[in-house]
């Protein structure tokens, strides 16, 4: 297993990333069952503390336990990212594959619109939308999911077009197979690996976008923790005690790093011909 995971450039980085990510996901899923301290319990005697016997990872500016807040924060960060990727994938693949089966003119026009949205920096649109509507889980997921859908559309459109032009698909088409049949039996099964790779990259983008928005105070509302929001409020106490802000900051950093390492590996394994 380890030997299989070892890739050409990364050495042991893939198994380490996989192990770390598994740990984070398990902590997030079973968080409430771990017997952690209450993440909302204020402890006025221990503000902004470094690790102690009682608070293993220290406390925040209200004396709340950072270990349990980091675990509960993981739930928010991972849920938003996963749900946003799912939404972006569903929307993007539908549009991307659909566009490939439009007529020529419509295809060119549609892809031009998609291109405009792919190139726009997502965070500017997202922050305006969230400042207006207010941050909560569904709004975050919808906003991030919609903003990353065009990238899925762009990628799947290219692949779908290629598959549609293959000889056996043309043959099926001339034998009377409808577009629906071709999409279901030929196009979608052949782009599973492309979708998987795109999903892994989008997952890390979505995590970073959610963290950035929450950092600005536009994500889930306090006291519910998310990693980005914890960094945003703890950064003001950097000069009092630099330890607490490092907990959510490094949790976020290592998780995104692990996702990117796995994404690269997935890319190498599934689409070796697509070396950039």
């Amino acid at each position: 297993m380890i030997a299989f995971l070892r890739n050409r450039t990364g050495g042991l980085s893939v198994p380490i990333a996989l192990g770390f990510l598994t740990l984070v996901v398990l902590a997030a899923v079973f968080g409430p069952a771990l017997g952690l301290l209450d993440p909302y319990q204020i402890d006025a005697a221990n503000l902004l503390s470094s690790p102690t016997a009682q608070h293993w990872l220290g406390t925040d500016e209200l004396g709340r336990d950072l270990l349990s807040r980091a675990v509960y924060g993981a739930r928010v960060s991972l849920t938003v990212a996963a749900a946003a990727v799912l939404l972006a994938g569903l929307l993007g693949v539908t549009v991307g594959v659909g566009v490939a089966f439009l007529g020529r003119r419509a295809e060119a026009a549609a892809i031009r619109v998609v291109d405009v949205f792919v190139s726009l920096p997502e965070i500017f649109v997202a922050l305006v939308v969230l400042a207006f509507i207010g941050g909560n889980l569904p709004t975050l997921v919808a906003t991030i999911g919609i903003l990353y859908a065009p990238q899925f559309a762009r990628v799947t459109w290219g692949v779908a077009r290629g598959i549609r032009a293959r000889e056996h698909v043309l043959a099926a088409s001339s034998l009377g197979a409808g577009n629906g049949w071709i999409i279901w039996h030929e196009v979608l099964p052949n782009m599973r690996s492309i979708i998987a790779v795109q999903a892994s990259f989008t997952f890390s983008f979505a995590m970073l976008l959610e963290a950035g928005l929450s950092f600005l105070g536009l994500g889930v509302r306090p006291p519910v923790p998310s990693w980005g929001q914890m960094v945003g409020s703890l950064k003001d106490y950097l000069f009092t005690n630099p330890w607490p802000v490092l907990v959510p900051a490094l949790a976020l950093f290592f998780t995104v790093l692990a996702v990117n390492v796995l994404g690269d590996w997935l890319q190498d394994v599934l689409n070796p011909e697509l070396q950039q």
Partner: protein, 318 residues
Amino acid sequence: MLPFLVRRLLSAIVTLALATGVVFIAIHLLPGDPVAIMLGDQAGSDPVAVARVRAQLGLDLPLGTQFTHWAGALAHGDLGVSLRTGEPVVDELMRRIPRSLELIGAGLLVAVLFGVPLGVIAARARGRLAGLAASVLAVAGFSAPVFVLGILLVLVFSLGLGWLPSSGFVPFADDPVQHCLSLVLPALTIGLNFMGVIARMTRASLADVMGRDYVKLARAKGLPRGKAIFRHALPNALVPVIAIVGIRAGNLLGGTVIIEALFDWPGLSSLLVSAAFSRDYPVIQGALLAIFAIFILISLVIDLAQGLVDPRIRRPSA
């Protein structure tokens, strides 16, 4: 070259117009009334007062009419006045655009200065420790959320070494030295984050070019490896690197949102954030327009740079 330039410029204008139209419609369709926020809790709950102010600001007109008015004024260089301060939006933008450009320019400089050498090391020392270290550094820079990177830099250079201010902005005219010092950490943060993108592209592209016949020939006729890389391979390998700067210009600009908040840098992004919180429509529209314009300007410059470096790109078919 000229038709290429005209074609790119036209397509840039179309993109900008499309983006502006979408933004205008979207922010007016989103819930939330700026007038109620402007007037505060008490007056904001009085429907007569709200209606009067709405009429004064032209917010009661149909959306299409509002857009025509706005676009018409824009053609005369007028972006309206801020609902909050009453100050012309254009004045505020003119103050902030240079600050944002300065931040992006300095960040890009850092990214290239660190990213290209890192990419060369990663490609040359493939499979050895130096190559692995360079690759890891590149992925780390690219995976680190900008605020994490920024906080780590503040910890080291402000809190630890005390060399640089942790945040704040000093106008260049007031104190040039302090101005440059306050620019260092924000620019390093943007640059080190973007460095990963440039290093990865340099490595991949250089590895590809090193396998081409003309580099093999240069090596075969006895040119040392270093010379083959720097004289023959690297200049050609940099074409996709220039391209990736254009493709990822969005990341570069998007990063400034966090950086400006973290370092109290009063640029366009922080203007947009504060305007969005108070639903200051004219300022939001103006700031987004300026940000999109900068974004399109970067892509345009990149395209032109590529066209200059690589004549094949200038042809319409390419």
